[in-house]
Amino acid sequence: MIELAHLQVLAAALFSIGLYGVLARRSAVLILMSIELMLNAVNINLIGYATFVDFGEAQRALGQVLIIFVITIAAAELALAIAIILRLYRNRSSVNVDQIDALRW
């Protein structure tokens, strides 16, 4: 049987993988993709709780509602971020995060 723990571990794993990507990748676009992984990890976590825990009548739908919002926000965030990255690319001809360190110290 699938248990809550399965989903939680999967979520944790995906979250960590996404985090690794954020921390290790050079391309801004790939960082963005890694963030999507993290957000999906959240969704896995949420669906796990939503499915396996009884929240009573009033909150039954809340888990899935949350997921919908997360997906929405994730998509919008991705779009906006890509717009900004494109802008960056036009100004600097690079999306390499190593190279965007004019602002520091």
Binding site: E3, H6, Q8, V9, F15, G18, S27, L30, T51, R90
Partner: protein, 165 residues
């Protein structure tokens, strides 16, 4: 003895994990985009296993149909020559360590927390819709504003004008 659902779950989980690892490990950015797609589909699979058909559908539509396409477009618009030899910076072992740390933390935390669970329960379309448009109408409206801002913002930022680009 594996139950049928568990097998499906493992398949979906494997898809998710492999896709995820693909995104963060591959040296070719196009592969990464497809790995992301795979992971997203895996997540959709998980949704299905949790009887959340609507979410699975949304997941496939938004991620498969929109997000990955947008990502690919953006890749096309930026520098092609970088596509095939992506490198990670020198911080990656540290990043790996930290990621493992976070994983350990989350797993340890969840596993040591006892949750009173019930059988998997499904949620009907109607119920979800009604909840979304009554109980959560305000956040829903706000979310629309968020999308609007993202839209306007993207246009403003990317639109060329005056030939300065």
């Amino acid at each position: 003895m594996l139950s049928q659902s568990l097998v499906f779950f493992y398949i979906a989980a494997a898809l998710v994990i492999i896709g995820g690892l693909g995104v963060v490990l591959t040296r070719n950015i196009v592969y990464a985009a497809f790995a992301l797609l795979a992971a997203m589909l895996g997540v959709a699979g998980v949704f299905l296993l949790m009887f959340a058909e609507f979410l699975a559908l949304v997941q496939v539509l938004i991620y498969g149909g929109a997000v990955v396409i947008v990502v690919l477009f953006s890749l096309m618009l930026t520098r092609i020559q970088d596509f095939e030899n992506l490198t990670d910076h020198r911080q990656w072992p540290l990043a790996a360590l930290l990621a493992i740390g976070v994983f350990a933390l989350l797993v340890a935390a969840t596993l040591t927390t006892s949750v009173r669970v019930v059988e998997r329960q499904s949620l009907g379309f109607l119920e979800l819709g009604e909840s979304l448009f009554t109980d959560w109408a305000v956040p829903f409206e706000v979310a629309s504003l968020v999308l609007l801002v993202a839209l306007i913002g993207s246009i403003v930022l990317v639109r060329t004008s005056g030939g300065r680009d």
